[in-house]
């Protein structure tokens, strides 16, 4: 076995941070993506325009720049808000801007834009007759969404979703730059301290491949489940 020189437990902790960060950002991204897709398809001009500006801006700027903007600017912004609350309304609160929260927020925010595009395409692929049939059964629009539009949309969204997840997973490595101790940061620190970069960086690379392979398997199973009733297409 490779000698991790006592960095083993910290590397595993770092892997935990990576996975938590990735999963929480994914959840945020899915919620934002659904909202964006809904806004893009809505009849309201303002909502449509806002969603377009959001997806265009986010997809035009590097993840790292957005992350630094939110992370370095976040504390200043939060301080400004709490100062404003104190001077104007005499409310004294101190909000500590947490690095983990900043990471989840930025990654979720970035991938919300990509998810929005994925979901929009998937929603449009659902046959209109299905929705009309639901309405004819007297379903409310939220019930139509839950029972008809969402399950059928997922079938079309899953390939894109799985793609976005793989990119998201790799993007989490960037949080090591803004000071979060994920597995990349632990490995980089250990490499610098021990002068043995390969011992630490290659296992981390393998860990990413492993997570990617496991999620590929999960997505394949999900796809099978959502494909039920569509003749194994």
């Amino acid at each position: 076995m490779i000698d991790l020189q006592g960095y083993g437990p910290r590397l595993i902790e770092g892997a935990g941070v990576t996975i938590q960060l990735a999963v929480l950002s994914l959840i945020l991204a899915i919620i934002l993506g659904l909202l964006t897709a809904t806004a893009k398809m809505s009849r309201n001009w303002f909502l449509r325009r806002t969603a377009t500006v959001y997806t265009t801006l986010i997809r035009g700027v590097p993840d790292l720049v957005l992350m630094m903007l939110l992370f370095f600017g976040g504390q200043i912004g939060v301080n400004a808000i709490s100062d404003m609350l104190y001077y104007n309304y005499d409310i004294d609160i101190y909000i500590n801007f947490n690095a983990f929260a900043a990471g989840v927020l930025t990654i979720g925010f970035i991938f919300g834009a990509y998810m929005g595009e994925t979901f929009r395409g998937a929603f449009m692929a659902v046959d209109n007759g299905q929705i009309e049939a639901g309405k004819a059964y007297g379903m409310s629009s939220s019930l139509v969404f839950r029972r008809i539009r969402f399950p059928q949309m997922m079938r079309h969204a899953l390939p894109g979703l799985s793609n976005n997840w793989m990119v998201l997973l790799k993007t989490t490595a960037l949080v090591s730059v803004i000071g979060l101790t994920d597995m990349v940061r632990v490995a980089a620190e250990a490499s610098r301290a021990t002068h043995e970069p390969f011992t630490f960086l290659i296992p981390v690379a393998v860990a990413y491949l492993l997570i990617a392979s496991v999620s590929e398997w999960i997505f394949a199973r999900l796809q099978k489940r959502y494909d039920i009733g569509f003749g194994g297409q």
């Binding site: 590097p62 720049v65 370095f72 600017g73 793989m166 990349v184 610098r192 970069p197 690379a205």
Partner: protein, 240 residues
């Protein structure tokens, strides 16, 4: 309305950040980013074409090693690849005595190597997809003309595959531009590096990063329009 205009005037009057000095940093950053992205894309493209042909080979022992390469480079973060090359290159035995050392010692070349290998992996898969999608009839026609496999690759398969790959390759170029921001992590003064420097010097995160975000946005749009123009020209025969 008046409020906004006075606010805007105050903003410009009290501007101590965007002096000629800092704008110079951003300009140098832009030059570094452009060099890094352009060189790695060109080198990646040159590597990717033969790899894509090998990857589409029927022989497993030719296509499998290439698949392994693309799988590893597409499945791991670019940051890890950069770290491995940047920190690792020092530890290759005897490298400090070779003529390569003065080149590899600077952060620019490890970054260039990492970016090239990364984009080559993605581009290989894009081209492989395009090669695989060649219409069977075209291949049969080429065979019927008595073309050798090499001639067929050169005259029939590759030209049409390049055209099919164009939209996906445009995305890869934009992806590479955004990924190049990582270079700032290994002390390179690219655009993001310049923004970090300005941020650290003036403690002005919004100004420093929003400005650089705007530059990246402009570059992204420029690439987007360039590829749209190319598609219009090269894929004109596909339009009704």
């Amino acid at each position: 309305m008046l409020d906004i205009s006075t606010w805007f005037n105050d903003l410009l009057a009290g501007n101590t950040i965007f002096t000629a000095d800092t704008l110079g940093y951003y300009w140098e950053g832009l030059v570094t980013t452009t060099q890094l992205v352009f060189l790695s894309l060109v080198a990646g493209l040159i590597i990717a074409v033969p790899l894509a042909i090998m990857r589409s080979s029927k022989h497993k022992w030719i296509s499998l090693p290439i698949y392994f390469y693309t799988y590893v480079f597409r499945g791991t973060p670019l940051l890890i690849q950069l770290y491995i090359i940047y920190y690792g290159v020092v530890f290759i035995d005897g490298i400090q005595d070779t003529f390569l050392w003065p080149v590899l010692r600077e952060a620019f070349y490890p970054a260039l190597i990492a970016f090239t290998l990364n984009t080559a992996a993605y581009t290989t898969e894009i081209f492989r997809g395009a090669i695989k999608a060649t219409a069977q009839g075209e291949i049969e026609a080429a065979r019927a003309y008595g073309m050798s496999p090499r001639l067929m690759m050169r005259r029939i398969i590759l030209p049409s595959a390049f055209r099919r790959a164009l939209p996906a390759y445009g995305n890869e170029v934009i992806f590479m531009l955004h990924a190049s921001a990582i270079a700032s992590v290994v002390t390179l003064m690219d655009l993001t590096g310049a923004a970090r420097f300005v941020y650290a010097r003036y403690y002005a995160p919004f100004e420093a990063f929003l400005f650089v975000a705007a530059i990246y946005l402009c570059l992204t749009f420029a690439i987007l329009f360039f590829f749209r123009y190319l598609e219009k020209k090269l894929l004109a025969h596909l339009n009704p």
